[in-house]
Symmetry: D2
Subunit: 304 residues, 4 copies
Amino acid sequence: MKPVNHITLRKNLTVNALVNEMSKSGVLGAGALAKAVDIFEEMHNDKDCKIFMGIAGAMVPGGMKNIIHEILREKMIDVLVITGANLTHDMIEALGHRHFQGSHMADDNELNKKGLNRIYDSYMPNKSYEDLEDFFSRNYDKLKSIKSVNELLWKIGELTPNDSILKLCWQNKIPVFCPALGDSGIGLMFWGLLAKGKSLDVKAFEDLKEIIDIAWTAKKAGVIYIGGGTPKNYIQQAMQLSPHKASYGIQITMDRPEPGGSSGAELKEGISWGKLERNAKFVNLICDATIAMPIIFSAVKDRV
Amino acid sequence: MKPVNHITLRKNLTVNALVNEMSKSGVLGAGALAKAVDIFEEMHNDKDCKIFMGIAGAMVPGGMKNIIHEILREKMIDVLVITGANLTHDMIEALGHRHFQGSHMADDNELNKKGLNRIYDSYMPNKSYEDLEDFFSRNYDKLKSIKSVNELLWKIGELTPNDSILKLCWQNKIPVFCPALGDSGIGLMFWGLLAKGKSLDVKAFEDLKEIIDIAWTAKKAGVIYIGGGTPKNYIQQAMQLSPHKASYGIQITMDRPEPGGSSGAELKEGISWGKLERNAKFVNLICDATIAMPIIFSAVKDRV
Amino acid sequence: MKPVNHITLRKNLTVNALVNEMSKSGVLGAGALAKAVDIFEEMHNDKDCKIFMGIAGAMVPGGMKNIIHEILREKMIDVLVITGANLTHDMIEALGHRHFQGSHMADDNELNKKGLNRIYDSYMPNKSYEDLEDFFSRNYDKLKSIKSVNELLWKIGELTPNDSILKLCWQNKIPVFCPALGDSGIGLMFWGLLAKGKSLDVKAFEDLKEIIDIAWTAKKAGVIYIGGGTPKNYIQQAMQLSPHKASYGIQITMDRPEPGGSSGAELKEGISWGKLERNAKFVNLICDATIAMPIIFSAVKDRV
Amino acid sequence: MKPVNHITLRKNLTVNALVNEMSKSGVLGAGALAKAVDIFEEMHNDKDCKIFMGIAGAMVPGGMKNIIHEILREKMIDVLVITGANLTHDMIEALGHRHFQGSHMADDNELNKKGLNRIYDSYMPNKSYEDLEDFFSRNYDKLKSIKSVNELLWKIGELTPNDSILKLCWQNKIPVFCPALGDSGIGLMFWGLLAKGKSLDVKAFEDLKEIIDIAWTAKKAGVIYIGGGTPKNYIQQAMQLSPHKASYGIQITMDRPEPGGSSGAELKEGISWGKLERNAKFVNLICDATIAMPIIFSAVKDRV
């Protein structure tokens, strides 16, 4: 048995050095956080391993945009599955808008009058939507004949004027999926086109062919879930259909397992389903992702 | 100010009588649970109010199937938005299979060898999928030309041999939506058809027209969210686009608001977005839905 | 394997009948709630079993007073360990004051000006303390020479004019402990006496002799924890020192196990410590206690 | 309004630099973490401010010992209130024993056979207790006449052979309190002495005089709570009795506010009670303390 080596601080400690201290303590949240870094490093260095990343929750309004962009720019992952909400917030920033620091105790009536939409303690101005509508109207002709959601997302990326999640996916040829794109601000833009009588060819299930092909042909797979939601489940079901289950797993969530939902389910449950290898290296980190992501990827940056 | 009247038990207390006691105490979880019943009763009795229900989490493997079926049979709601996972588990039971009582501490390796998929402490046998595949193969011709996910869901309901969520929605003409159907066992059945070269016409965003039309034309709206996920968000965005925001709101979840995700966000946040009326009656109930649903709908049954 | 039998509602369902339905479903929170009732019934019927109950959290301001009183009146437990806060709130009501229904979103500045102390969404008026001070001043002579906290608590009970937790413990000879009595409003009353130069004989560790004697001489033990805190840990350590570990265990809390604290620790952890029998019947129920307690004790009432 | 400035990583980022990035993002968990550092820095630099720190949860088995020791060695706080469990684990290490890295999925029966006590995923060997017993037997004469728990704790510190929380408190004249010392392994040592017929003079409420005196005479107060439990509540009630309420507040917990318990209650609730100044600077950080503490005190180290 390894003893718990107490974390020791010193001046000018780097994040990676702190994570190394946490690794030596090896228990509770700090131990799990360090293990997440170790597993990410190991799957990154495993040349046979395709890394599938799922991102849910308020990551873009929560200040994680640059980290996600860098992950894509540096091709640290092979497949991205993300919620429509994050894509919407990211597009809005790519079109020149910002999110703002607020308070979760604000008067929501007052915010509504001021045209501010609250996401816990960050605000998104209502007027951000206008440029988004304009973007989709302007580019309708280039989008209308696309058949699958994943191709649609790359095309949106190609058309986006500034760095965005989708643009970086497109530039770096990282397949990107959004299992419930209709359930988001971007989805509403497509509804807006349909409501004006403009047709769209994009099909409901075409994207499944692509992600399952990728999972099927991967020699090895690793998964990292920031939050749960559809991104986690969508990757998990691709793992289930693949001959090679995930060999590495990292899950960061504040959701509990006891209510039985997919988001809070511990990774080891996936072993029963054949989504995770019996001998996989995995960790469930119970932590606010806006704390965990910067630490993990800061440490990873120093290591790889 | 009303005093906290302590809950008093007696022999043969009915669930509704207990909820009335909780209403008199009026605080903490018990108070919120009683308020949920009161709000549901009030929106049920409000003839102008269309009730939108969102269901996420492991409700069917969690023993809530009959309650959901009865809600639909009795037309207690006007619109259902639900996860593909619940539809899959429900279809599997409609085709003659069962879920089983297990343990969250089971050895997942052993379960995998036995062909049992674990959902916290319930198990779904692997072989349940076979009849599901057969159902979709057999009915392909009746599904292939359908354009929207909501029509597809009604058609699946019509074709299902026994009572199921979808069959009851179809029979009772309750519009039913599933914003991420591809992200589920049923979604995988459609992938299976596509993978065999069979085409499907169903489009990605067509369903949005239907739900937004319903929200738009409702004189008044009430929302009830069992869990968060895409069902909550999908209804919330329909509320946002509608001239009549929700006047009533009930949310039952174990997710926290602090990480900023939609599932755990308190209902009052929706006021800033224009999804909830400024003077709406609403309650956030922090409770395992498998405890809250039976109590709420048992009490509602005695009241309406 | 037992199938998940879906919960079926009917008109005028009693709480106990609903719990029986939950027992047949057997999974997730509903299954755990039903199991808690079954275990309580079984330990109640086991004549050799001494039941140790720990109560933490805002149970008295939360409307649970009558249920706790009835448990004591009916001698459904053999030992009570409780927080000083609950004793304080209960004493205040025994002296004629009330708690009030409020809102967790209230302006705390305003409440402070009005002399209202907030406990989430219940309020305790500041003036309640005055009668409490008067009670302890008046009865100082009868308390000053008592040596152990448990005897002190019984004496306070004897002196209390109306039904209270302590009076009912005293009347029914139920030993009652409060491991951190100083950390409460009642503790502050004793500080007030000391500050006025009045001496008190009560010792810090005398109560340990009593609870460990009870645990040591019990043929069998059962534990039920409403919340964690010192009541849980204090009973757990008595179990650890006893030759007969707990044979039955019920824990109701919203705290998580992952941070490692005693309050959220799963009961099974106690097996490693020798606090719980290897073959004990036990359940961890993740639920707001103000919801779980009324249901459990309502069902128990119909069964015993 | 300040925009959310997205966190940007770079090579060799120090923890403090990362916290500065989090401060610029300003929202969700990362924003709260950064605010905790800012508030600690500010109260540290406020020469009139006495800092009261409460520590609960499995901080010593969780690898936080050195950080706590350094806080005391550097006199970064003025008063410590801590659980008996942490003092016990710390004493055991001071007497030469260790805690070990384990797994929360271990078989607790097997651990029990091996004499390993589990604290989530760390283990404490049973035999650690033997030296603790020996220490208290050997030093009984020096402890038996002490009247208050706080003096008892300093004396234990004085007698401890190696660095420990209590020794460092004693050396640096930092008052240290433990409101439920009986409810811990150290408490059991005193029970052991009593059980052998050895008397102890320590009184139950004497310590209250000391902490309330300190709070009363402080020109200004700041509070930092690692976990809740008795340490938080004990400091809070001292604040309530003091003419100067807390001007600064930091709370780190994973407990929820909704069940109404003191541990999870948001700091702002304290404003209603007169425990926190109306204009206090405060933050509730929802995070595993083993992650938050190292980050906060690493950043603080670089700043002060």
